[in-house]
């Protein structure tokens, strides 16, 4: 037990900007007004979270606890009822080119081919890429998610996992400063998932992107994250933020052979188990 690895830090190059906060949520209360039922539903409550540049954050929590709501606030799609959300020091007023998102429901344009869907990611932002460079970049990310050869397919011709990967490529092609990913690997098989997780870790290490990734898989959260945010059942509160002090790159050694991995896994599992029971007794409102 003495060869426990020291807390991981990312490559020295990004160490300079390492401690500035990119995403800063303070006292967030977010909810939805349901006009038909005349009720206001609180989805998130008292959320305080500071995310540093280059950090990889995974959010786990029971279904319906407000995870998607949280990254929608970061993305500027949902306005908080109370509290503030700052990205790069300025209050979030709406979406911006510094943030890209992988959607839980894919949100692909059915009238566009795979290629055109990925191009959508760069269609409305100013960039100085030539036509050829753009095509190369799109091809690069399509290759990365394993969809080479499907460029001309329409979404209805793809499996669920393939659609999801188009969504991932569309977000990655923007090479955003902040990548928001809502269960990006939920529909892909275990092997493809692991390959893509490794790829993601490699890209992030290269680009120093900040990532907020939602997942239902504790293993995925611990394998990928610098910190795992555990959210309680609705209305979502941050139950605990778990530091994952495992060395990187995590796909270059057998992380599951590491005892610390299992400790962390156990810990997150216990936290979630409490939440799942809590949610069960509360029932669906």
């Amino acid at each position: 037990m003495t060869n426990m690895p020291s807390p991981a830090t990312r490559s020295a190059t990004s160490a300079a900007g390492r401690n500035d906060v990119v995403i800063d949520a303070r006292d967030l209360v977010v909810g939805y007004r349901k006009l038909r039922e005349k009720i206001e539903l609180t989805a998130l409550r008292d959320v305080n979270l500071q995310i540093r540049r280059g950090e990889f954050i995974c959010i786990v929590g029971p279904s319906g606890c407000g995870k998607t709501t949280f990254i929608n606030v970061v993305a500027g799609l949902v306005k908080p009822w109370q509290g503030t959300m700052h990205v790069n020091g300025t209050p979030v007023k709406g979406p911006g080119p510094d943030r890209a998102m992988v959607f839980q429901d894919y949100a692909l344009m059915p009238w566009r081919t795979v290629q055109e869907n990925v191009e959508f990611g760069l269609e409305f932002v100013k960039h100085d890429l030539s036509k050829q460079q753009l095509a190369d970049r799109v091809a690069h990310y399509l290759d990365l998610v394993g969809l080479k050869g499907f460029e001309k397919s329409f979404p209805y011709e793809l499996s669920g996992g393939m659609k999801q990967r188009v969504g991932i490529a569309r977000a990655l092609v923007c090479e955003p400063e902040i990548l928001l990913a809502d269960e990006p690997f939920g529909a892909v098989d275990a092997m493809t998932r692991e390959g893509m997780q490794a790829e993601l870790e490699r890209i992030i290490a290269e680009t120093g992107q900040t990532v907020v990734l939602i997942t239902h898989s504790i293993d995925e959260a611990i394998t990928l994250a610098d910190r795992v945010v555990v959210v309680s059942h609705r209305p979502g509160r941050i139950r605990e933020v778990v530091e994952v002090d495992l060395p990187r790159p995590r796909f270059e050694y057998d992380i599951k052979a590491n005892e610390r991995y299992h400790e962390l896994r156990e810990h997150v599992w216990d936290l979630l188990k409490g939440e799942a029971f809590g949610a069960a007794t509360e029932g669906e409102a």
Binding site: F103, M109, W111, F120
Partner: protein, 286 residues
């Protein structure tokens, strides 16, 4: 038993070796039969129908005034449709009226429908009139139109226009209103401006609704056309049906009805072709 299983979707015995995930395949006679067999059946069915009709008419079970022989009808049809024939000029007239009316209905209806779907203000301004007019049987307007416009082309044109425009408006509006919100969110996240959203997300999403609105509008417009022509004037297929009936010419009457069927099916088919060209992603499975 380890027999290799041929994929069901590929006709056995043709195409290349199955070593990649894809291969091309050629049609076998069975494939051709599956694909075109239905058309053959329809042809056979219709032939039988017309033969029975002919026999039935020859037996004079019903008065020949009500039911002409199929052969007489076809003869009248071919003579009428040959250059200088009596049906042809009326077909051209009706087609012209119908096309102009439809084009105008689409040109006015599509923007109004899209606007109503996009803006609550526009919706509340237009919707009482749209729904009232959509609910009113359009035929009831004909006496009023004749009163105002006389037995003129403009009265007919107006009735076609009013018959066709409301399904178009309502479908366009529904299309915009039901636009998939997660697609809109995707547009916003990737930096689409309001105009971009309309051009690149909402409009393409609505396109199939627009086409189906135009399709419904055409069926209604055709009703409007025939009614307007029956009401007055001395031109068009509708007029020809009344004239044939009044001059006790059942062969001509039935021939005109057949022309109307083909006319209507033809326009619907054109829209279908436009739809497959404009919205190929909607051809799930076919």
């Amino acid at each position: 038993m380890s027999a290799t299983v041929e994929p069901k979707t590929v006709a056995p015995g043709d195409g290349g070796p199955l070593n990649g995930p894809e291969r091309t395949f050629r049609y076998s006679p069975i494939n051709y039969l599956r694909r075109y067999g239905a058309a053959g059946l329809v042809l056979l069915n219709l032939t039988c129908f017309f033969i029975l009709w002919e026999l039935f008419a020859r037996a004079e079970v019903v008065s020949p005034l009500f039911l002409p022989r199929a052969s007489d009808m076809f003869r009248t049809l071919f003579e009428g449709l040959s250059p200088g024939g009596i049906i042809l000029q009326h077909v051209f007239y009706s087609m012209r009226m119908f096309s102009i009316g439809m084009l105008a209905a689409a040109a006015v209806g599509i923007p109004i429908g899209l606007l109503m779907g996009a803006s609550k203000v526009m919706d509340s301004i237009f919707s009482p009139y749209v729904w009232a007019m959509a609910a009113l049987p359009r035929v009831a307007l004909m006496p009023l139109l004749i009163l105002i416009l006389g037995f003129s082309d403009s009265a007919k044109f107006t009735l076609i226009f009013l018959s066709a425009i409301f399904p178009i408006i309502i479908n366009c509006m529904a299309g915009v209103k039901t636009v998939d919100q997660s697609l809109v969110r995707a547009g916003q996240v990737f930096g689409a401006s309001k105009t971009d959203l309309y051009r690149k997300v909402i409009f393409p999403f609505t396109l199939p609704f627009i086409i189906s609105g135009v399709n419904q509008g055409m069926t209604r417009g055709l009703v409007g056309l025939v009614i307007a022509e029956i009401f007055g004037g001395n031109k068009g297929l509708g007029y020809l049906t009344t004239r044939a009936a009044q001059s006790f010419n059942p062969a001509l009457l039935y021939a005109v009805l057949l022309v109307l069927v083909v006319f209507s099916l033809g326009f619907v088919q054109i829209v279908k072709i436009i739809e497959t060209k404009a919205a190929p992603w909607r051809n799930y499975g076919s």
